[in-house]
Structures are given as structure tokens and as C-alpha cells.
């Protein structure tokens, strides 16, 4: 019986997909009002998106901007967070403990099979994933042999080096923002990862640096999502553009960009509804949103995939699907202040070449910091305390 169903369904699927892949391809050319598809590189994921040929400030200039005293008209609450941001290491206590537990046990013993098992288990417990764990440990094995290492401590230090090497990858981790023009950053991700909160924190920082920020409430699905963003706008001094609940998010984004142009705002932060990467129609909606932004050539500077640090191996699949749909330029790793290890970013970097750009480490408005691989790795492997 099941065989019958199976065959019929297979037949159905084949016919349905075969026919309509062709039809869709044809229809796409006809859709009214769509600009001729902007030249999107056929590269799926890995290639870093090139900065559009605009004058981008040098890193020094940006850093100067970052340090610049806040513009006078900015309300007080935005003030403190620029001055002293928490260091990643201070926030990774949980991770440190997890590792030190395993590493502590290894101390003073000879390297044997059990040592390797414990290294593996520690990495797996951090959600690094089997593939990346095996890759890292293979590299460490080779190097340990070369260095004829005999102490577990040496292995740990070699492992730390490998992690840093894997993460560093010469990635550009600055969030691109060209002065004197419209900049758009889009935030995408599955449900509940902290997109809206991340936008709130970023808005606060950028307003504090003297930018005029527009928040686009592109999440028209979740009840009260726009209200949540509204509260952030009020708190941070950004301006909110919202639509009706259930409205087409692309109209909200379009309005936000027009409003930003009208008011001379230089940064538009686009919130989007959380969506599972398996929902084809919702992913299509996201691609459409991107195309709307792309009508202003060069405006879209960042597409940030927001990933919860407690995410398991599914994070890699998420990254791949979102990258395919909207060409993700970086990862915002959120909720890293818990015992969550965030090890999945190792897999994402190594498999897809997408760098982590910012890290959310707390609930405070200023708890959003730049990602530093060395700090991340040493915090990960620090065996003090």
C-alpha cells in the first residue's frame, strides 16, 4: 500500500516540479515593476561581497567616528555604552568553565586516547559539530606529531591556535557604513533569535555616534513586533517606519527608505519577521525584500544573519539557506552571555566562509560588541577559574 502512495507521490512531485520550474522561470521575466534583476553574483555563499565602489572610510576614520563624542542633541540614555563595552572574555564564563572542567582533568597526565576523546567531547559540547571538530583535531594531531608534544597542555594550546586560524581567515568584520549616502542594513534569521533586540542595540550605538537612524518595522507578522521596535526607537532616538500588521513588508521597507531619503537619515535598519529557512514562500519574500532595497544601487551594505548562540548544528543549515536567499554578509551572534557556547560559528566560518561581525553578550542596551577571534578563542580555552 505504502509503495503505491510513494510512487504516486513521486510521480506527482516530478510532474509538478518539472513543469513549474520552467513556468516560474518564464514568469519571473514578466513580473511588472520589477527592475531588471540587479547583477547578483552567481556565487552562492563563500565569496565576500565586494564593497560597492563608493568612498568607504578607512578603518582609522571609522574608529575615529566611533570614538567621536556623541552629538549634543542625543538624549542621555545612549551615552554610557560607547565608553566601556564589556569584553567578550568577561562574558564567556560558562564556556570557560566547561572547557576548564575537561582540561583540568587532563592536566598532569600523558596524552592518550582518553585525552583525545575529552578534547573531542569538549568541542562537541560547545556545538562545534562533528565535522569541524574532526577537522580541528586532525590538524592538532599533525602539529602535535611535528612538535612531538607530550603534555595535554600543549595540545590545548595547539587547539587554540587552530581555532584562531580558522576564525581569523582575514575576514572583514566592520559593519560597512559610507558617510553621506543612504546605508541599509538588513537583519534576517529564524524565529526568536533576537533580531529586533539586536537592531535596538545597534540603533542606540549608531545614534550615539551621530548618525540619523531609521528603523524599518519589516516584521509585520508577529503580533506587536512593531510595538517592540517602537519602544526601541523611543529609547534610542531613532525614527520608526511601520505598516499595518499583516502588511506587505516590502512596502514598509520601501517607505522607510523614502522616509530616510526625505529626512536625510544615513542609516536604515531593516527588521524582518523571523522565518524558518525551510519555508520556501517566506524565503522568497525575503529575496523580494532584498530586491526592493537593491533598487537604490549600493545602498544595501550589510545583510546580517542573527544566530542564537545556543543553536545546534541546524545553525549551519540556516546559514546556508539564508545565504542562498539573500547573500548574507555576516553573522550577528546573540545571547552569548549564557552558558551557551556559540561553537556553531566555527562550523559556519569553516564551511561557508561567513564571518561573525557582532556579538550580543547581554540584555543591556550597550551589550553588543565587535567580534574578536583571538578573544573568542582564548575565552573559549582559558582554563583559569
Amino acid at each position: 500500500m505504502v509503495v503505491v502512495i510513494l510512487v504516486v507521490v513521486v510521480a506527482l512531485v516530478l510532474v509538478a516540479t518539472g513543469v513549474f520550474v520552467a513556468v516560474r522561470a518564464r514568469r519571473r521575466d514578466v513580473v511588472a515593476g520589477e527592475p531588471a534583476a540587479p547583477p547578483r553574483p552567481a556565487v552562492r555563499t563563500v565569496a565576500p561581497i565586494e564593497t560597492p565602489p563608493v568612498e568607504t572610510p578607512s578603518i582609522e576614520e571609522l574608529e575615529a567616528l566611533l570614538r567621536a563624542p556623541e552629538a549634543p542633541e542625543i538624549p542621555a540614555p545612549a551615552a554610557p555604552e560607547i565608553i566601556e563595552r564589556p569584553r567578550l572574555r568577561d562574558r564567556l564564563g560558562g564556556t570557560r568553565k566547561a572547557f576548564s572542567g575537561a582540561f583540568g582533568r587532563m592536566r598532569g597526565r600523558k596524552i592518550d586516547d582518553e585525552t583525545w576523546d575529552e578534547l573531542e567531547e569538549s568541542l562537541l559540547l560547545a556545538d562545534v559539530g562533528m565535522l569541524t571538530t574532526t577537522r580541528l583535531l586532525d590538524a592538532v594531531r599533525t602539529r602535535a606529531k611535528e612538535a612531538s608534544a607530550t603534555e595535554p597542555d600543549e595540545l590545548i594550546s595547539l587547539l587554540r591556535d587552530e581555532v584562531v586560524a580558522l576564525l581569523a581567515d582575514d575576514a572583514d568584520r566592520t559593519l560597512r557604513l559610507a558617510p553621506g549616502e543612504q546605508n541599509v542594513w538588513m537583519f534576517v534569521g529564524v524565529n526568536g533569535v533576537g533580531k529586533t533586540t539586536t537592531i535596538g542595540k545597534l540603533a542606540s550605538q549608531r545614534v550615539g555616534e551621530g548618525h540619523r537612524v531609521v528603523l524599518a518595522a519589516g516584521d509585520t507578522f508577529r503580533a506587536a513586533a512593531a510595538d517592540q521596535l517602537q519602544l526601541w526607537a523611543e529609547r534610542t532616538g531613532g525614527e520608526l517606519v511601520r505598516g499595518q500588521e499583516g502588511a506587505d513588508p516590502s512596502s514598509v521597507v520601501f517607505d522607510a527608505m523614502s522616509a530616510a531619503a526625505g529626512r536625510g537619515a544615513d542609516l536604515v535598519l531593516v527588521d524582518t519577521a523571523g522565518r524558518l529557512h525551510t519555508k520556501k514562500n517566506l524565503m522568497d519574500e525575503l529575496s523580494k525584500l532584498r530586491r526592493i532595497v537593491d533598487r537604490t544601487p549600493g545602498a544595501l551594505k550589510e545583510v546580517l544573519l542573527v544566530i542564537d548562540a545556543s543553536t545546534g548544528q541546524n545553525g549551519l543549515v540556516q546559514a546556508k539557506q539564508f545565504a542562498d536567499a539573500v547573500e548574507v554578509t555576516g553573522i550577528a551572534l546573540t545571547k552569548l552571555d549564557g552558558t551557551s557556547k556559540g561553537g556553531i560559528v566555527l562550523a559556519i566560518q569553516s564551511e561557508l566562509g561567513i564571518p561573525v561581525k557582532i556579538v550580543g553578550v547581554g540584555e543591556g542596551i550597550g551589550d553588543l560588541i565587535e567580534f574578536d577571534p583571538a578573544e573568542f578563542a582564548s575565552a573559549l580555552f582559558s582554563d583559569e577559574g
Binding site: 513543469v19 518564464r26 562537541l124 529564524v190 503580533a223 545556543s310 545571547k335 552571555d337
Partner: protein, 469 residues
């Protein structure tokens, strides 16, 4: 990249099936692969360890030696262990003898508490209870507002006040008495991490309203951390059950296994989609079957039995065996399948589907277009598509609101499928014979006993003629 757990196990088991006996070395090797598969599915490392230990112990022992087919026996052991770990039976909520019954939701930020609260209220309401939704998450901006809106959508009264969570909970009980509601669902604040503030707040609420049910809400995509979360909440407030959310994604949901093992309390519900009615009782046996690559066979069989008439079943089987498929038959089969729900869902329930098929994107609207095309043909044309010439094509296109191009590609695609079916005619007979031989005593209602027999052979060796898409 990562194969789904079921794919992995499929591979392992097909290797097993070809073997006559199960040596200790075999068990070791297979256990290693199952370990890998479970780890990729985010089952906690330590849970995997104990799980593998239990399976190995049973597998190497006498049970397998006595079995006729060691491969099947091994699969059975793994399946049974999975079911046992996941819960064995479907759990129930505890009702208070003195209404209202109080239920408190707990969990980290973003796990889906607020949505789960509204979905649960809707479900309980449909079961004849009178729930009251309570917004005690005063932390996240607009969380209370979100629940208020959702409560309106599921048409359940809502209560909150801008004071503090404990007062909200207390006030809610009074409100429930006043309104005559017999079930109170309290949504609480999440935190980014398991911290003392959060636990103290939960304890305070629990102390104030004495919930009969404290449920942990866990995201199915959670990784290794799931164990720590479950432990921490369990230690602090004593959990009575778990709600697993976002299982409509493609995460294998290993977190379910981890949490269950740690908390020891049943997973009661699962969130299966964004819509408020996409929420159902959790079925440990089905989840285990799915993990094992047997698809959600139980659900499928139930649906098939409900939708297919007896003679229609026979007809479908004859069709398969003859290897001849006309557009007319095709249309008829399509109607049957459509009755089972969206094609994508039906597809997901089938065991061991080839990846190309399972991952195919199907819009049910596309089916409607196909249907329109076929319905615009004359019966004669449906039986003999080669009749369709230029002018007939034009007529069909006009009749169905499509274009001649679409008709061309449908006909072409259909021809390919026809050829494939011819190739599979013999296979259908074979699979059926196999099923009869081995599964006679089991009957169709026990598909869980089927893994080794019959159809799993289909996807592996049965569809070589897959036309490239």
C-alpha cells in the same frame, strides 16, 4: 553538508540488512555511526553516550543471537530505546480538583513561550476548557501586548497589569474566579541566560499561585545547551513537562532526546508551525520513527486509511503493477493525495524518500494548475495524449488559463514519469510480495514493525530511472 539523521541511519541499516549475523565488531561499528548521527542531530554528547551504552548492551546480548534477522532486530532495539528515551507514552496535564488549574510556562528568551501560551489556550479551549491567558512577562518590550493580541485572535480572555510578575499572577487567579475560567496559563519572562534573578522570579510566581503544571518551552533547534537549560529549570522550579517548539524546521530535534533524558518528564506538546492552530500533542513513538528514517508512517497510514476507499486502493495497486498510467488515472490519484493535506507534508511523512524528492519545493497551487490543464482535456485526450495537436493545445491552454508552453512541458514531464513507472511495475510486485511474505501476521496497522521488510528497499534500489531535473 550534513545528512539528516534518518539518511545516515538508512545507510547504516541497509548495510546491516545485507549481513547474516551480527558480531560484536558489527555492533561496535554501527554504534559508532549511530553516535555520529545522533551528535549531528544535536543530541547531547553525554546523552548519546548512555544511549549507545544501552543499545550496545542489548544488541550484543542474547536477544540478537536468537533473532532470525539480526539487522531487523538491531533496528528494533534502537527504535525501542529511542521511544523509551523520548517518553514511551503520551503525557497529560494535571488538573486541579479545585479550579482554576494553573499552568506556568518557563524558558529562555526566544524559545517561543508567548506563542506557545496562545496556541495552548486555543487547544484547551477546543477541548472544552475555559482558559485565561496571563501576561507576566514584564521584561521584553511589548511581550504583554503580543500576548494580548494573540489572546484576541484565539478569542480567550487576557489578563495583565503593569505591576510585578507575582502580583500579575495573583491578580490573574482572582480574575479567573471572577470570570469563571477554569484554566490559567501564565506566560513568564525569559532571560538570556539561566540566572538567579530569573529563577527567583519564577519561584516567586510559583509560590504565589501554586501551578499544577510547570512546563519548560524548548526550541527544537537548540544544541548541546538544552541539557543545562533543562537541568537548571528543573532544579529551580521542578518541571512537570516540556513543550518542544519550531519542529516544523529541518532541525532533527535531538534536543528533545536530551531534555527528556535529563528532566524525566514527558514532552507534552509540539509547535509545528507559525499559525495558531499548528500545535499538537507530542508523539514520542512517531518522533522516534522519524529519527529512525521510517518516516511518520503511523500518521501516514492513518491518513491513507481515512482517505482512500478500499477499491480505490486496489485500483492504485493494479495501476502500479501494470505500469501503465494515463492522465486520467493521474488526475484521480492526485485527488486522493490532495485529500491527505498539502503535498509537502505528505512527502515528509514518507519513509526513506530519496533526497531529491523530499527536498523538492512544491506549491500546491502548481498542482491546481496541472489539474486545470488535465481537466480542460477531453477524456480521449487524457487517455491518448499523443492526439494533442496544435489547435487542441490552444484550446486546452485557453480552457485552463495557461499557456501552450505549460501544456508542452506537462506532457513531456508526464511522458518521462510514464516511462519511469513502466520500469517500476515489476518492482511494485516484488515489494508487495515481500511484504506479504514477511508481514502477514503484522497487518497494516503496525508499520513500526516493518522497517526491515518491504518498502525501504524502494528508495535505495528502486528508482534508478529518476529523470534528472
Amino acid at each position: 553538508m550534513f545528512d539528516a539523521l534518518s539518511d545516515r541511519l538508512d545507510g547504516i541499516f541497509s548495510k546491516l540488512r545485507s549481513r547474516g549475523r551480527l558480531s560484536e565488531r558489527d555492533v561496535d561499528e554501527i554504534s559508532r555511526e549511530i553516535r555520529l548521527a545522533l551528535l549531528e542531530a544535536d543530541v547531547n554528547v553525554r546523552v548519546v553516550k548512555s544511549f549507545i551504552g544501552r543499545v550496545k548492551e542489548r544488541a550484543v546480548g542474547a536477544e540478537v543471537a536468537k533473532a532470525l534477522d539480526p539487522g531487523q532486530q538491531f533496528i528494533k532495539i534502537v527504535h525501542e530505546e529511542l521511544v523509551a528515551t523520548l517518553g514511551g507514552a503520551t503525557g497529560k496535564l494535571t488538573m486541579s480538583p479545585k479550579p482554576p488549574t494553573v499552568l506556568m510556562l518557563a524558558g529562555l528568551q526566544g524559545s517561543g513561550k508567548t506563542t506557545a501560551a496562545a496556541k495552548l489556550a486555543r487547544l484547551l479551549k477546543s477541548q472544552g476548557l475555559h482558559p485565561l491567558l496571563v501576561g507576566a512577562d514584564l521584561q521584553r518590550p511589548a511581550a504583554v501586548e503580543q500576548l494580548r493580541v494573540l489572546a484576541g485572535r484565539v478569542d480567550v480572555p487576557f489578563y495583565s497589569e503593569p505591576t510585578d510578575p507575582v502580583s500579575v499572577a495573583r491578580g490573574a487567579i482572582e480574575e479567573a474566579h471572577r470570570l469563571g475560567r477554569n484554566f490559567v496559563i501564565v506566560d513568564t519572562a525569559g532571560r538570556l541566560q539561566i540566572d538567579n534573578d530569573l529563577m527567583d522570579e519564577l519561584k516567586a510566581i510559583a509560590a504565589a499561585v501554586q501551578p499544577q503544571n510547570t512546563l519548560l518551552v524548548v526550541d527544537a533547534m537548540t544544541g548541546q545547551e538544552a541539557v543545562n537549560v533543562a537541568e537548571a529549570f528543573n532544579d529551580a522550579v521542578g518541571l512537570d513537562g516540556v513543550i518542544l517548539t519550531k519542529i516544523d524546521g529541518d532541525a532533527r530535534g535531538g534536543a528533545a532526546l536530551s531534555v527528556k533524558e535529563v528532566v524525566g518528564k514527558p514532552i507534552l506538546y509540539a509547535g509545528t508551525g507559525e499559525k495558531l492552530d499548528e500545535f499538537e500533542a507530542f508523539h514520542p513513538d512517531r518522533m522516534a520513527s522519524r529519527i529512525l528514517g521510517m518516516g511518520d508512517v503511523l500518521t501516514l497510514i492513518e491518513k491513507v486509511e481515512a482517505t482512500f476507499e478500499e477499491d480505490e486502493k486496489r485500483k492504485a495497486e493494479e495501476l502500479l503493477q501494470s505500469g501503465k498510467l494515463t492522465l486520467e488515472d493521474f488526475l484521480e490519484q492526485m485527488q486522493q493525495i490532495k485529500r491527505m493535506g498539502p503535498l509537502q507534508n505528505v512527502l515528509g511523512m514518507l519513509p526513506g524518500m530519496p533526497k531529491e524528492v523530499r527536498n523538492a519545493e512544491i506549491d500546491d497551487k502548481d498542482l491546481a494548475r496541472i489539474e486545470a490543464i488535465i481537466r480542460s482535456m477531453t477524456p480521449e485526450e487524457r487517455r491518448r495524449p499523443e492526439l494533442i495537436n496544435g489547435s487542441r493545445r490552444m484550446r486546452i491552454a485557453r480552457g485552463s488559463g495557461t499557456s501552450t508552453n505549460e501544456i508542452n512541458s506537462l506532457l513531456k514531464q508526464f511522458k518521462q514519469v510514464q516511462q519511469m513507472m513502466k520500469g517500476m511495475g515489476g518492482l511494485g510486485r516484488k515489494a508487495k510480495a515481500g511484504k506479504k511474505g514477511k508481514g502477514k501476521s503484522k497487518g497494516p496497522k503496525q508499520p513500526a514493525g516493518l522497517p526491515g521488510a518491504g518498502f525501504p528497499g524502494v528508495p535505495g534500489g528502486g528508482l534508478p530511472g529518476f529523470p534528472p531535473r
